[in-house]
C-alpha cells in the first residue's frame, strides 16, 4: 500500500487518480500509523511553505516523515512536497523546513519580465545522473510545472535532474537511492509522468 500524505496542502485527487490508472493501491491519509507502516510514501502539496509546515506540525507529521525517510521507506516528494524536504525556504522571509536535504528553496527572479512567475507549463528535464526513476524515460522529456520557488540543494550529490527557467538551471529532480522528489507534477504529466510514478513503485 502507498500512503499519499494528506496535510491539507492542496488537492490530492490527481495523485490518487494517477495511481488508480496504474492499478496501484494508494490511500490518501494523514494518520501517522498508516504513513509509518506504508510500503511507500508519496508527499505531494501545493501552496505556501509556511502554512504547510504549520499543518504538518499540527498533525504531528513532521517527525513521522523524517522517520519514514530515515528508515528507508521509498519516498516521493512532489512540488511543495519536494521543497519542504530542504532546510529552509525563502518564502515569507524564511521558513524552517524538514532539513532532510541540505540546501534552500529560492524564488524565481526573472531578468526578463516576460518570463512569468509562476512558471506554468511543460518544461524539459535534463537527467544529470542515471537513476531507476528515469527508466524508460528519454533525457530532456517534458513534465508539467507550476511553481514560483525551486529547490536549491547545496550539494550536487542530491541533484538527479535539472530544468532551465527564468535565467536559472534549477534542480527539478532531487534525492538519492529510494528517497526522491520532483518539482514538477508527474501525476499531471501524461504518459511520461505515469511512467515515472510506475518507476517509483519499483524502487526498493
Amino acid at each position: 500500500m502507498i500512503a499519499i500524505v494528506d496535510y491539507k496542502a492542496g488537492n490530492l485527487t490527481s495523485v490518487r487518480l494517477a495511481f488508480q490508472a496504474l492499478n496501484i493501491d494508494a490511500e490518501v491519509t494523514s494518520l501517522p500509523e498508516k504513513i509509518l507502516s506504508a510500503e511507500r510514501v508519496v508527499f505531494p502539496g501545493v501552496g505556501a511553505a509556511g502554512a504547510a509546515m504549520n499543518r504538518l506540525n499540527e498533525l504531528g507529521l513532521t517527525e513521522v516523515l523524517k522517520e519514514v525517510v530515515n528508515k528507508g521507506t521509498p519516498f516521493l516528494g512532489i512540488c511543495l512536497g519536494a521543497q519542504i524536504l530542504l532546510e529552509q525556504s525563502k518564502e515569507d522571509n524564511g521558513i524552517a523546513c524538514l532539513g532532510l536535504i541540505p540546501g534552500t528553496v529560492e524564488l524565481f527572479r526573472p531578468p526578463d519580465p516576460l518570463d512569468k512567475v509562476p512558471q506554468m507549463g511543460w518544461n524539459s528535464v535534463a537527467q544529470c545522473k542515471p537513476h531507476p526513476l528515469f527508466d524508460g524515460i528519454e533525457d530532456e522529456s517534458e513534465f508539467y510545472f507550476v511553481h514560483s520557488y525551486y529547490p536549491a540543494p547545496s550539494d550536487n550529490e542530491w541533484v538527479l535532474g535539472r530544468t532551465s527557467y527564468a535565467g536559472v538551471s534549477f534542480s527539478s529532480v532531487i534525492g538519492r537511492n529510494n528517497f526522491v522528489a520532483t518539482q514538477f507534477h508527474p501525476e499531471k504529466s501524461g504518459r511520461v509522468g505515469l511512467k515515472m510514478l510506475e518507476n517509483f513503485c519499483k524502487l526498493k
Binding site: N11, S14, P113, W122, N123, V146, S189, G190
Partner: protein, 259 residues
C-alpha cells in the same frame, strides 16, 4: 525551455460539447469525455471546459462530468461556468480539476479571487476576461472594456486595469478572450493580448480567433502569450494538434513534441 501550451476549449451545454459564434448558433460536437480523451491522446498540453449555460440557468457545474474527465486524462484542466462560491471551487477541485476559471463572478465580486487564492493557492485561480475594443480612450485608457455574461453586459471597467487588479487579488493566470475575435477564426487579437502579457507578472493565455497554425505562431511570437486556446479549428477536424505543433516547431516556437 518552457514550451508554449496549446489548450483546446470545450464549451459544454446539456452534457455535450457545443460551438457557436459569439455565443450564438450552437452546434453539437460530441461527448465531452470522448473529445477530451482524443485531444489528450493527440498531445494537447492542457484542457479547459466551460459549462456555458450553468450561470444563466443558475445551477451548479456538472461535477460528475468533471470527475469523469479527471479519470480519463492525465494532464491539467480548468473548469469554468457556474462557480458561485469558494465551496463550488472546492467541489470542482476535489473532483480532479486543477484550475477554476472565474469571469463574470469576479467582476461582480472581486473578493472571490482572493478567497479562492487563499484557500487553494493562486495557481488554481484563473481569471477569464472578455474585453471588447472601444473608442472612448478617456474612460478606457487601454482601449478595451470588460464585458460579462457571455458578452451581453458592459461593465465600465478598463481591461488592463482589471487585469492588474486581478493579479493583485491573487489570480495565477489570465485568459484574455477577445470579444471581437471570438469565433471569427481570423486570428487572435494581437494588440490586446500583447498589452496584457507585457503588463502583468502572471502567465497570459490568448483566446478567441484561432483559425490556423499561423495565428498561433503570431500570438506566441508577437503578443508573448504563454498559451493559446483553440476550438473551432480542431473541433471541425480541419487541423489536428500534431499538425499545429509541427507548424509551430517549424516556425521556431517551443512546443512539447512527445507525449
Amino acid at each position: 525551455m518552457l514550451t508554449k501550451r496549446i489548450i483546446p476549449c470545450l464549451d459544454i451545454r446539456d452534457k455535450r460539447v457545443t460551438k457557436g459564434v459569439k455565443f450564438q448558433n450552437n452546434i453539437d460536437l460530441g461527448d465531452p469525455i470522448e473529445l477530451a480523451s482524443k485531444y489528450y491522446e493527440d498531445g494537447c498540453d492542457e484542457l479547459v471546459f466551460y459549462d456555458i449555460t450553468a450561470s444563466a440557468e443558475q445551477r451548479q457545474i456538472d461535477i460528475d462530468m468533471v470527475a469523469e474527465v479527471a479519470k480519463a486524462i492525465r494532464i491539467p484542466f480548468a473548469v469554468g461556468g457556474g462557480i458561485a462560491s469558494v465551496d463550488d471551487m472546492s467541489r470542482v477541485l476535489l473532483a480532479g480539476a486543477e484550475k477554476i476559471s472565474v469571469n463574470s463572478l469576479a467582476v461582480k465580486q472581486p473578493d472571490i479571487i482572493s478567497e479562492g487564492a487563499r484557500a487553494f493557492g493562486s495557481q488554481c485561480i484563473v481569471l477569464g476576461m472578455d474585453p471588447v475594443a472601444v473608442d472612448d480612450t478617456e474612460r478606457f485608457p487601454s482601449g478595451y472594456e470588460i464585458t460579462t455574461r457571455g458578452f451581453r453586459e458592459r461593465t465600465g471597467i478598463d481591461a488592463l486595469e482589471w487585469a492588474k487588479r486581478a493579479v493583485d487579488l491573487g489570480v495565477g493566470e489570465i485568459v484574455v478572450n477577445s470579444v471581437d475575435a471570438d469565433g471569427t477564426r481570423q486570428g487572435f487579437e494581437i494588440n490586446l493580448t500583447r498589452m496584457i502579457a507585457e503588463n502583468v507578472s502572471v502567465p497570459v493565455v490568448a483566446s478567441g480567433g484561432a483559425g490556423c497554425a499561423d495565428h498561433l505562431v503570431k500570438v506566441f511570437k508577437e503578443a508573448y502569450a504563454d498559451a493559446a486556446i483553440i476550438a473551432g479549428m480542431i473541433h471541425t477536424g480541419e487541423y489536428t494538434i500534431p499538425d499545429i505543433k509541427r507548424d509551430l516547431d517549424l516556425a521556431g516556437v517551443p512546443v512539447r513534441k512527445q507525449w
